[in-house]
Symmetry: C2
Subunit: 427 residues, 2 copies
Amino acid sequence: MNIPKKSYPRIVIIGGGFAGVALAKKLSKQEVQVVLLDKHNYHTFQPLLYQVSTGGLEPDSIGYPIRKVLQNFPNFYFRLANVERIDTSCNTLKTNIGEIDFDYLVVASGSTTNYFGNSAIEKYSMAMKTIPQSLNLRSLILENFEDALLTSDLNERNALMNFVIVGGGPTGVELAGALAEIKKGILPKDYPDLDTRLAQIHIIQSGDRILKGMSKKASAKAEDFLEKLGVNIWKNVRVTNYDGKTVSTNTDLTFETATLVWAAGVKGATINGIDGDDFITRGNRIIVNEFNQVKGFDHIFAVGDIACMKTPDFPDGLPMMAQPAIQQGEQLGNNLLKLIENQPMKAFTYKDKGSMATIGRNKAVVDLKKWKFQGVFAWYLWMFVHLFFLIGFRNRMVVFINWVYNYIRFDREARLIIRPFKNKNLE
Amino acid sequence: MNIPKKSYPRIVIIGGGFAGVALAKKLSKQEVQVVLLDKHNYHTFQPLLYQVSTGGLEPDSIGYPIRKVLQNFPNFYFRLANVERIDTSCNTLKTNIGEIDFDYLVVASGSTTNYFGNSAIEKYSMAMKTIPQSLNLRSLILENFEDALLTSDLNERNALMNFVIVGGGPTGVELAGALAEIKKGILPKDYPDLDTRLAQIHIIQSGDRILKGMSKKASAKAEDFLEKLGVNIWKNVRVTNYDGKTVSTNTDLTFETATLVWAAGVKGATINGIDGDDFITRGNRIIVNEFNQVKGFDHIFAVGDIACMKTPDFPDGLPMMAQPAIQQGEQLGNNLLKLIENQPMKAFTYKDKGSMATIGRNKAVVDLKKWKFQGVFAWYLWMFVHLFFLIGFRNRMVVFINWVYNYIRFDREARLIIRPFKNKNLE
């Protein structure tokens, strides 16, 4: 990898998501060598991926070059690499661009879509965990509408205009809200020769409420908002199969759709070498202690979605969200410096800053520790928080301008099929 | 295609570039049915493609949904389609989505890269005529720098950091200027462990001056600007071959580079059915008369790059640029309405509004009819004109913000490898 060997200890971080970047920033001005590996050269602001899928934001405004985040920091090395194996016996990583040894290793590889072993769903459904996936979904939605124009078969046309979203978490809810607004504000103008009123948006949720990670009040209000937007919510229904046309469930319900978005679960993106039952728990996450250490090692850590840290409040592990990732990354930065200086590390405590989800124009639900509220003010807060956490002044400006424009004009202009999903010859 | 047959005459336009869109807009409120076919669902503002390739602008800010341009216009139909054949004997088009007949046909299919039959160059070089191509070039540039870090072979590393641009027209010149600024302002910060001073930027021009479509003064000044930016200009040199590593020329000169950008020529993107010597002239363009009519037909037209209209000032045909395309599109709109009402059409006259090119920060050359100037004011004018001709308020705002930001910060943040070109597994 052509990284010089220094007298400083070398800390290798796998993954440039919220946790990896927060950690690297903490270490950037210290007497350590930091090597960050990621298979993308950019950090993805995942909470806004659904806006890329629905044409509200351009992908470049929610991605940020990792090299730029850590520009001007000495002893920082980024490498575009896919880590294939961790060899804990000799402290080495095997990657597609060669081997690298480490003094300390931090696994921050995040999470990936969990299909729960259903290969048909994996094959035919759309995920929304990365920018390329979100662009694929954007293309598919637009291509389906173009195709809907071409058919005279009413059932086929409706299937092309229907959306089935599996999973009523924040991703599913926010996507459904955005699609409902597109249906109302854009489709009738873009496709005057289609009866887009027939387009149906469905959320299928296996549990008895959506946003189950939030308060019951938030769930109820979100359902109310979605229903007013015309979204159909199916609770206590589990999707069992999808063949590219028909969605089957564990009930009598079936849905005809050309677009199934799978937002029903994620699992840890484990890496060979730290896997197997010794290390892994529910959700394919690596078990870590209160210092984010991986069982059996002093010098190997895991942070963010991939790490399962159990606390009294979260006996199944902290939630797989941005906040625990950022907080763990920052604290591990401090702890690593302590460890190197042979000082005792500080146990991680999670500061729950609350959670929120938006459901279209002027509507959001917010759960803070002491205050739960919904509506317009929640929506403003949602926007403010997301702008605040975006990396980079330019990205914030561009996102802000787009939001103002989209709000005033009831529009989303980034509806370009730049990477065709169905008909790749039309690129 | 599922387009209803109306009592109005049907005008089919192939291509949603400058000419096609200008024409469609003219016809949009008239008693004609307009069907526009394009293999992209967006209009591309080609003059700014080089800024996408160099990370200065996001692709979505120079593309604009064609449906949105003609929203709210009755009798307008867009179809995402690739036209495979024109059948002039029965006034029908064959496309990948079926057949369509026309009363009037306008070919506005634009131009494509001209490799002059050199298949090795076609295979290994990069073109910059579409948004996907520009994104591929952006990825390749960034991937080459990532790869340069990995090699200890000095020659290989330099080849990865070198750029050879073939063709000294506006595209080549503007790209070279942008690359020179990246070399100076961004690479040293992004790649502190690479000696990016060794990166070389070459323009190879077969003629004896660059910007040969502009005044000699503009050429001389552009050369001066480029040389001050460290760009090497090789005149009277013709590239003969490229094997992915070494560029051969008709002289003793060779260049080692992993990035060859072919901006040495374009040719008309003809369509089967209107091809062959009867219709086609130099540059693979369709011969048209002063009404943009294709030889032998009253009801078939060609406009823009694909059309070769010879005038006393331009005996080889009007230049393949945005202005002739827009003007022809608009005038043909008026003429078609006259033709339908059996009134005489008006011959096209080209209003030469001048030409311009920018060569990086604060530097541009402008040739107006009565005034030729270079430098900062030319640069402001260049920006103003490009913002003015961009379609859409949001695009203008986003481009403007990016330019201001890039100018103040000496930066270009859209340097994300979203669609890997070399290592597609790293998406």
